[in-house]
């Protein structure tokens, strides 16, 4: 069943379309990946859903969620939706935190905004959330700079999933992490998805990060969707030569040096 439906979404900067006529839907509880190179418009598409585009960019088209077009939603209503029903995590984990607030204060801010809970209950909820992403309760008192990139990304996942949203939009959450931490974060996301049943829209340039967990993959190039299919079909028989290239550039470790095949390098 469709949770969110994007129809003919275009994003323009001064009448130049950067994203053109993008249509797709996200189904309940699925893991949908958008894959593309830098500049393909994948992050803009994801940002448009939550009205997070910069003011110099205009989105046109429709993003339908529970009968409402999110692009036309009043800011106040959008804010209510964000965090409770639709949450984001970003590539820049440092930018997701205020440097002079402790992790605990971030939880406090979030919980006070969205829920009416006593102080002690808020604390318990925060510590439970930290435990759910494999972090110790001590982290509550720490400042962002005292944690590693992987740990911070775990905290932002804990915050994003705190109120059990229907949809988590993950915009390259693993790109800034080393591959070891990034695979751990991916595993964590997959486990939490099992538990909470939320849908994940996962943006990445690296097919290796979605090979294992995604249900469907959507490939973007120069602002357009060139292919969207079920994962196994797409990986096995890509229709578009560009998809084939992306697959060749990110084969699993045991495959023989596909990297150096001439068509990938071109």
């Amino acid at each position: 069943m469709s949770l969110l439906k994007v129809s003919n979404l275009s994003i323009a900067k001064k009448h130049n379309n950067i994203v053109e006529n993008v249509s797709f839907d996200i189904r309940k509880g699925e893991w949908l990946a958008i894959v593309g190179q830098s500049g393909s418009g994948k992050s803009l598409t994801a940002s448009a859903i939550g009205q997070l585009l910069e003011p110099n960019l205009q989105a046109a088209g429709e993003v339908l969620y529970e009968g409402e077009n999110l692009l036309d939603l009043m800011p106040k209503k959008m804010r209510k939706l964000q965090g409770t029903r639709i949450s984001y995590i970003f590539q820049d984990y440092q930018g997701s935190f205020t440097p002079f607030l402790t992790i605990g204060q971030h939880f406090e801010e979030f919980l006070k905004t969205h829920l009416k809970l006593s102080k002690s209950k808020r604390r318990i909820k925060a510590e439970e959330a930290l435990a759910s992403v494999g972090l110790k309760p001590e982290v509550y008192q720490r400042y962002p700079f005292q944690l590693s990139g992987g740990q911070l990304q775990r905290v932002s996942i804990a915050l994003a999933l705190l109120l059990k949203p229907d949809l988590l939009i993950a915009d390259e959450p693993t790109t800034a992490l080393d591959s070891i931490s990034s695979f751990q974060v991916l595993q964590l996301l997959a486990d939490l998805q099992q538990e909470t049943g939320c849908a994940i829209l996962f943006i990445t340039h690296d097919l290796r990060h979605v090979r294992k967990y995604a249900d469907r993959i959507l490939v973007m190039k120069e602002g357009k969707i060139i292919e969207q299919r079920e994962k196994h079909q797409l990986l096995k028989q890509p229709e578009h030569p560009y998809t084939e290239l992306l697959i060749k550039a990110s084969l699993p470790l045991r495959a023989a040096s596909p990297l150096f095949s001439p068509e990938v390098v071109k």
Partner: protein, 254 residues
């Protein structure tokens, strides 16, 4: 004689935290050794020590048999031209106020008179710069641009052109492709591999990406918490004998 030899190299931070623990390895001419490990395991610190940007507490670093760490800055200068680096973030390794042309020629202007060129031919700056641009497969017209006008991949190609311009004995590649998207990564790795053949270069290739290391290197070293867990020939990566930590890394990439 090996090109680079590290003997019992150890380093401890001032707060007492050991960062390098008894590192031993040798790197031969025309060889690429891959060094793989998690963030914080000490791989970049090791790179900085080899590049003589940081001091070591114990042990020896020998370049062509000459011990480096006990030299002062002045006597070290002739050796520096043989140690070049390509870093992770190409945006910060190029001076934003210099045009590409000047960034490109900077190492040669600095060290060129001592450099022994075997592959490039220096007649004048313009012709030399053209050769470098050609070696890294960039159009000449980019030389009149500033770094912010280039893409990440183009900037990284310029950093590579700079590092090869004086034909150094050793280039330390510290996560040269981590900030690039997969297709650009593939192209840069291919370029580096070709250049090593053509210019008879030697690399220490540092990365957390085991597949990149596997494709680039003849020898692989795995580092964890400041120690080298094991070192083996690339073709033995999937051998049963591998250390449990290496096996764990491999499983992540499958």
């Amino acid at each position: 004689m090996s090109l680079l030899e590290l003997k019992n190299v150890s380093k401890t931070y001032k707060n007492g935290v050991p960062v390098l623990k008894n590192i031993n390895f040798t790197l031969e001419k025309k060889e690429c050794i891959g060094l793989v490990g998690e963030s914080g395991c000490g791989k970049s610190t090791l790179a900085r020590c080899i590049l003589q940007l940081e001091s070591i507490d114990e042990g020896k670093i020998l370049l062509n048999g000459t011990s480096l760490h006990d030299k002062n800055e002045k006597s070290l200068r002739p050796y520096r031209k043989n140690l070049q680096a390509v870093m992770q973030n190409p945006a910060s390794s190029l001076n934003p106020k210099l045009k590409v042309h000047d960034s490109l020629l900077e190492p040669f202007r600095q060290y060129g008179k001592d450099a022994i060129l075997k592959h490039f031919i220096y007649t004048n700056e313009k012709k030399f710069a053209d050769q470098l641009m050609e070696a890294v497969e960039l159009p000449r017209k980019l030389m009149d641009r500033y770094p912010h006008e280039l893409s990440g991949g183009q900037k990284q190609r310029i950093s590579i052109a700079r590092s090869i311009s004086i034909e150094p004995a050793l280039i330390v590649l510290d996560e040269p492709t981590s900030s690039l998207d997969v297709l650009t990564q593939a192209a840069i790795l291919k370029l580096l591999d070709d250049l090593r053949e053509q210019l008879e270069l030697s690399y220490l290739f540092i990365s957390h990406d085991l597949s990149a290391v596997n494709m680039m290197s003849q020898q692989i070293m795995v580092m964890k918490e400041g120690s080298i867990v094991e070192q083996f020939a690339q073709e033995n990566l999937f051998s049963e004998k591998r250390h449990s930590y290496t096996k764990q890394l491999i499983s992540l990439f499958e």
